[in-house]
């Protein structure tokens, strides 16, 4: 991997290599929990924490793990951090914990976390792995919050739980199909902007 600056390393996760909008990884929680902006934000922060911590630990132990048990070792480390997050959320943010429910333990199998462990943390230093985890985590949180905000806005006519029109929204945006539709439009718009920038008239 060509050496890149710390700033680039951090920023790549947010737009250029955004895990949701560009790499399209971790779509299960992305589509599942983003029925409101708060859920998206909570899920994003929880995943970001796991990403940073597992990236850090994996980059530290990468030299003492034999290749053959690489994946199981990574999964155990990731699962441990996910359980920590789950316990912490149950203790200090019980309401959010209930909202996200099953999706918190499912961070274990989130492709982004294992993907970054395998593609980045197991080949790079601790510091750049933390920065990579932070960037990817912020990018993931940004994507989920944006998607949650759009779905909440259209589906229940509220934002971050504040209802400003007292009526029912378009229910489809709260349901699973709404997640696909919203995500599809966001990706289309992002690609359109990217292409416009690339080909000047």
């Amino acid at each position: 991997m060509a050496p890149i600056s710390r700033k680039e390393n951090f920023l790549k996760g947010i737009i250029k290599e955004n895990p949701v909008f560009v790499i399209l990884l971790g779509l299960c929680p992305t589509l599942g929990v983003t029925s409101s902006a708060v859920n998206g934000l909570g899920m994003g922060v929880a995943t970001a924490f796991v990403l940073v911590m597992s990236n850090l630990v994996i980059s530290l132990v990468k030299n003492v793990i034999p290749d053959k048990v690489r994946i199981p070792s990574f999964i155990v480390i990731i699962a441990a951090f996910v359980t920590v997050v789950q316990l912490l959320m149950a203790a200090y943010t019980p309401a959010l914990n209930e909202q996200l429910g099953l999706f918190i333990p499912l961070i274990v199998v989130n492709c982004i976390v294992l993907g970054r462990a395998e593609a980045f943390a197991s080949r790079n230093t601790a510091l750049s792995s933390i920065i990579d985890g932070l960037g990817m985590g912020v990018g993931f949180t940004f994507a989920l919050t944006l998607l949650g905000a759009i779905r909440e806005l259209l589906g229940s006519l509220s934002l971050f739980g504040y209802k400003f029109i007292d009526a029912d929204g378009m229910l489809v945006f709260i349901l699973a199909p709404g997640a696909f539709i919203s995500l599809g439009f966001i990706i289309a718009i992002m690609n359109w902007m990217k292409n416009r920038k690339r080909s000047p008239h």
Binding site: D67, K68, V69, V76, A91, L171
Partner: protein
């Protein structure tokens, strides 16, 4: 990357050490969060009772007792609410396992006549944005002040009087069932006003 050979012994040692360290640190975090979790749940229970019955001056949590449901398969927790030593109502913690995913736990406040004072959802794993709307007043209001003995608590689809939540008939059905079980159990200990 890996500088250690994948020999059988190395694999064994690596995995053992990693799982051991992970297990130990989890045990530590568990111990550390055990109290806050228990406290959060206790507070939630008290808040739930406060929300369903007003005007009591005792501590219903310390006076709680268990009552078997009429079918004898389960038992529910009863939290007696008293004002100046007089029973004014009972908060019943009830549940249904017929929800869309996992158990639905409710706290139902009954007056001594068996009327539902208020209901709060303690725990559910229903679909966020759909079944989770059972916590909204719009749905809950249908139950307030009603007596399950005089009203058919089933959802309209099943011939009852309750408007199900849009897109969440199963959750609404489970909710109604939980309230019904609470009422029937309540009736086994409380025969009319006295």
């Amino acid at each position: 990357m890996a500088t250690i050979k994948s020999s059988f012994l190395n694999l064994l040692v690596t995995l053992t050490v990693i799982t051991l360290v992970a297990g130990l640190s989890l045990g530590y975090v568990f111990q550390w969060t055990k109290e806050p979790i228990a406290k959060a749940q206790m507070e939630k229970q008290l808040r739930a009772i406060e929300a369903v019955i007003q005007g009591y001056d005792n501590n219903p949590v310390t006076e709680k007792y268990k009552v078997a449901t009429p079918d004898g398969k389960d038992s529910l927790e009863f939290f007696p609410a008293k004002a100046k030593g007089e029973m004014i109502g009972i908060a019943v913690k009830t549940k249904s396992s017929k929800g869309y995913s996992g158990d639905i736990r409710l706290m139902v406040g009954f007056t001594m006549k068996g009327d539902i004072e208020q209901v709060v959802v303690i725990e559910h794993k229903e679909t966020p944005g759909l079944g989770s709307k059972m916590s909204d007043l719009k749905f809950l209001n249908q139950y307030y002040g009603k007596n399950p003995g005089q009203m058919n608590m089933k959802v309209k689809k099943d011939g009852g009087e309750v408007d199900a939540i849009t897109g969440a008939t199963i959750s609404s059905r489970a909710f109604s069932e939980a309230v019904q079980v609470a009422y029937e159990t309540f009736q086994t200990v409380n025969h009319g006003p006295n």
